[in-house]
């Protein structure tokens, strides 16, 4: 029963997909094909990510991490988080487990948010790729505007969350 309740969304979506399979076989089959294909892509992407997370969990010293990105890391922590973010070019879904690990190791929440947001929107390894498809102007405008957006989002969320919210996030990160 607990498993059922925990995975309620998964069950609903699965039923929807099965319904599509029965009612609109063509769409249903196509949908399952996409799901299988995407699942393979996900696994391919996530395997190295989770290996790195496991290694981080075992080898990275919590105290060292707190010093680098923790509550009192100030501008150094911000800079490290930003730099870490812009060189990491993995999709959002693969970033989140990494962020969870950073939280578990005691990084400041606003720093983890800077990491996530900067990595999601500014990707140094993809920059030239973006230029080649979208042109310099488009790429540079996006880069500059996003630079401000990243910090705006991190600061606003950090101010909105109260102590209780933050404690919950850390407690939760510890369980994962």
């Amino acid at each position: 029963m607990k498993i059922f309740k925990k995975n309620i969304f998964l069950i609903i979506v699965l039923c929807l997909n099965l319904a599509a399979l029965v009612l609109f076989p063509q769409t249903g089959i196509k949908s399952f094909e996409f799901t299988v294909k995407n699942f393979m892509n996900f696994l391919f992407m996530l395997t190295p990510v989770f290996i790195c997370i496991g290694l981080m969990d075992v080898w990275i010293d919590r105290k060292a991490m707190i010093k680098l990105m923790g509550e009192n890391s100030k501008s150094k922590g911000v800079l490290i988080s930003f730099a870490l973010g812009v060189v990491t070019a993995v999709p959002l879904y693969a970033l989140l487990p990494i962020a969870g690990m950073l939280l578990k190791k005691g990084s400041k929440i606003s720093n983890v948010l800077i990491f996530i947001c900067s990595s999601a929107s500014i990707r140094i390894p993809l920059l030239l790729f973006e230029v080649s498809y979208m042109g310099w102007k488009f790429t540079m405008i996006r880069f500059i505007v996003n630079f401000f957006i990243v910090f705006a989002i991190a600061i606003i969320i950090d101010k909105t969350l109260n102590e209780k919210d933050k404690k919950e996030i850390y407690d939760n990160a510890y369980k994962l």
Partner: protein, 157 residues
């Protein structure tokens, strides 16, 4: 990029193994545990994306977000960008293709921004790591700021 990631993971794994066999096995166990923990949320995402991709086609998308579509088009582009999940190295060629088939820069600005920063379908995973409040605020802000990107694109391009 993924190959670089594999190289990194492999190098780290070898280094870890040289330093301590036990710790390496422990870290792999932990890696599996954290993966297992998040798997149901991922499966949900995959099924949702599968359904969406089978209903929407690129032709339909570029028809909706043409350069004459104005803010309505920006809005539609933002919604599509928010609910789809495409990696960057597919997103840019797709965005370029959409531009060629008649989409506007403003709309593409909103599309690319939301694509990268807003993840409605990945929300369950995000909530699991950051809690409901932070996840909802982050996604709403990212959506709002995507309109700012669209606005700047509209003025500058």
């Amino acid at each position: 990029m993924t190959i670089a990631l594999y190289a990194l993971a492999f190098a780290a794994l070898v280094l870890s193994f040289i330093k301590s066999k036990e710790n390496t096995i422990l870290s792999l166990k932990k890696a599996w545990k954290s993966f297992e923990n998040i798997l149901p949320q991922f499966l949900t995402i995959l099924l949702v994306i599968g359904i969406m991709l089978s209903v929407l086609t690129p032709q339909q998308i570029s028809m909706l977000i043409g350069s004459q579509s104005g803010w309505t088009g920006v809005f539609i582009a933002a919604v599509i960008g928010s609910v789809t999940l495409i990696p960057g190295f597919i997103a840019f060629p797709l965005a370029a293709a959409l531009l060629n088939s008649g989409a506007g820069y403003m709309q593409i600005g909103a599309f690319v921004s939301t694509l990268m920063m807003v993840g409605i379908v990945t929300m369950p995973v995000e909530i699991k790591y950051f809690g409901k409040k932070a996840a909802v605020i982050r996604n709403s802000l990212a959506l709002a700021f995507s309109f700012a990107v669209a606005f700047v694109m509209g003025v500058a391009m």
